[in-house]
Amino acid sequence: MKKFFLLILLAAALPVRAELRVFACEPEWAALVMELGGDKVNAWSATHALQDPHRIEARPSLIARARNAQLVVCTGAELEAGWLPAVLRESGNAGVQPGRPGHFEAAALVARLEIPLKLDRAEGDVHASGNPHIHLDPHNLLAVAAPLAKRMGELDAANAAHYAERQRAFVEKLRAAIARWEKEAAPLRGMRVVAQHRSFSYLFRWLGLVEAGTLEPKPGIEPGSAHLAQLVTQAKARQAKLIVRTPFDSPRPGEWLAERTGMPLATLPFTVGGSERAQDLFGLFDDTLAKLKATP
């Protein structure tokens, strides 16, 4: 028994890898940290693209990872309210608790859409701070990149210049890409789209797409048959052209509607890792645009 504890103490005392250890709540933030940090960071994503970030269990593996993290990068805006608080409290890691320098929330840095006027559970799973799925407007990534690089530099002063340099390069590259994407997506402007959950509001706003309804009757409430039936007429009346879903939404409600209306159903990658091509943030938007443009 004594030997065992000694071993553990030894493990604790061992110099951990020199990289900045980052616990990202979602793959898009892990990808952004990688863009900003390169080989100076070790970014680990708590969720992957096939997981619904609302509904995650505070698993032991997450607590162990949060225990060793120097920086936690999350969306905030209550997206992770169902699991992150438990993970952080159980981790015993003082540096990454809310309010500490090691705790970074991206949604607080951008203008959020759909901030509810009324907070009532009767309206479904509404977030007081607005729609948290901010990353699908690349302008939001621009807004997050600078403060994030600054924070990484504060926590890892030795590499602050490195992060600042990479941030400048990333912003330049992203700006160029945005110009390209906006040109490519210009013909999509005004297209009416039905989404499963309000996962794509920022993307729609960025590209000028119009949401013609959601499969969920209310945020976080599973699609029911009555609502879907009504959506058939609504989608036709509003001349919706496409149904979009994330890789983690159940395909069935979308397929049902597609069958009834003849609209195609597209699975957009939603985040990094959500499709073959979406291996980084640039691939994410390339693939998203390609899938939207593939609509007849």
Partner: protein, 460 residues
């Protein structure tokens, strides 16, 4: 861009009148369309400029949700209320006690009443006290009583993986012990929890936990407390009344599986711990108090395995859970009665009592489609071995008492529950309860659990 549109308009207006009316009309239309399209684009650009330039005014105040507290002094606790009630159909057994086990008595959340009843409502208030501490209060409300289930502070800033909790809290031993009834997968607690602690074991004291800095989850905890709850008793002393130690290990297997295993130990002492017995009074049996004084040691092993395809529990998931225990009690038995003819009058000592008992439960809960779950639980307890001098004990106490029974309590429980959303749950449960010797009780329970307000993250 706007200038281009204006130029185009000017050019259109300045065209020589010689052009045909048809041409002019077409040209005007084209220009009008151009103008419209440019206006739309300018508007979009302006919107974006406003969004990029002024995010602070738009939504910055909503950061962390804390700004909404306004003038109330920044106290913005998470408040939640849990309403629970049930309809229960079961046999009328006057004093329900698990055969072969010292009745844990006291604490329970209801659910032992026949017909319609309201379980205790839980009121939970929690908040960060400062950047360094968090506090929580959990009160169970029932008719005429408000019982403080938990009232503790917890450190947030100790660092190095350490967390200190102080106050009244549910002990970290085992798996189910820390969960409140609303988080249970069945309408009642396992027989094991009832036999060991009445329902769950709470400490008034301190808990120190440490998470190891490894990728495999390893957590070690130690608690010291007053130890006033069963199997201990309040002993009015300066020292520590109960000590517990626990270790948990856990991790993932692939993307779809997660597990946790643990081993826990609880040591406490009892002084004159009471239970109802009947005596051997020749004038007719009297109800007397059996009294146990001695030490109690409990070991618990727990194991949980959860499966959720691709780590998404929302649609389908499976949870396997089992706990085993072994309890050793060594001490002295006595009895007490106020009836003059009773052999227990004058509180005679009845010699040594040593008991070793073990048991456990295993359960599986399967969510086979959104909203719907099915569960099965098997409870078993061994009568174990009890050592005492029968001649001394049975001179005073009736050997037919349930405590002396050599019996293996068992129960099969089947449940189905339906949660339209994450804040409500309706449950139907059937149980064949053979925890009392000679009684085969077929029980039906229909239960509701409703969560109002902030509902904090549940632990694994």
């Amino acid at each position: 861009m706007f200038r281009i549109a204006l130029l185009a308009v000017a050019a259109a207006l300045a065209l020589p009148a010689a052009a045909g009316d048809e041409d002019l009309k077409a040209l005007r239309e084209e220009v009008a369309q151009m103008k419209k399209s440019y206006e739309q684009r300018i508007e979009a650009l302006e919107q974006r400029l406003a969004a990029a330039g002024a995010p602070k005014e738009q939504s910055q105040p909503a950061q962390d949700g804390s700004a909404r507290a306004g003038a109330a002094g920044g106290f913005n606790p998470e408040v939640s209320l849990i309403l629970q009630g049930q309809y229960r159909r079961m046999q009328d057994v006057p004093e329900r006690a698990i055969s072969g086990y010292w009745p844990a008595g006291g604490h329970d959340h209801g659910g032992d009443e026949r017909g319609f009843s309201v379980d205790s409502s839980e009121l939970i208030v929690s908040a960060n006290i400062s950047p360094y501490f968090r506090g929580m209060l959990n009160v169970a409300l029932k008719d005429g009583e408000a019982e403080v289930e938990e009232a503790w502070f917890q450190t947030l800033g100790l660092g190095q993986g350490f967390t200190l909790k102080g106050g009244r809290f549910l002990s970290g031993i085992g798996y189910l012990n820390e969960q409140h009834p609303h988080a249970w997968d069945f309408a009642d607690a396992p027989l094991m929890s009832k036999a060991l602690f009445g329902e769950h074991y709470g400490q008034d004291g301190l808990q120190l936990k440490w998470v190891a800095p490894t990728d495999l989850f390893m957590e070690f905890g130690a608690e010291i407390g007053r130890g006033q709850n069963f199997p201990g008793t309040d002993r009015n002393q300066n020292g520590v009344g109960a000590t517990s130690l626990f270790a948990h290990v856990g991790g993932d297997v692939g993307r779809s599986h997660a597990w946790r295993a643990g081993l826990s130990w609880l040591a406490t002492r009892a002084k004159d711990r009471e239970a109802h017995f009947e005596d051997t009074d020749a004038a007719g049996p009297n109800e007397v108090e059996g009294l146990f004084t001695g030490r109690s040691r409990t070991w618990i092993a727990d194991f949980v395995w959860k499966w959720a395809p691709e780590g998404n529990p929302g649609y389908r998931n499976l949870k396997l859970q089992a706990e085993l225990f072994r309890r050793t009690e060594d001490g002295d038995l006595a009895c007490a009665s106020g009836v003059a003819t009773s052999p227990c009058a004058g509180s005679p000592a009845l010699g040594k009592l040593n008991a070793r008992q073990s048991g456990g439960y295993a359960q599986a809960v399967w969510q086979f489609m959104p909203h719907w779950r099915l569960g099965y639980r098997y409870d078993w307890l061994g009568s174990g071995s009890k050592h005492y001098v029968p001649a001394t004990v049975f001179a005073a106490l009736d050997p037919a008492n349930a405590y002396f029974a050599r019996y293996r309590p068992q129960r099969h429980t089947l449940m189905a529950d339906w949660s339209l959303d994450e804040f409500s749950r309706l449950r139907l449960q059937f149980a064949r309860d053979k925890s009392m010797q000679g009684v085969s009780d077929n029980q039906v329970a229909l239960q509701y659990i409703m969560s109002l307000g902030a509902h904090g993250a549940h632990k694994f």
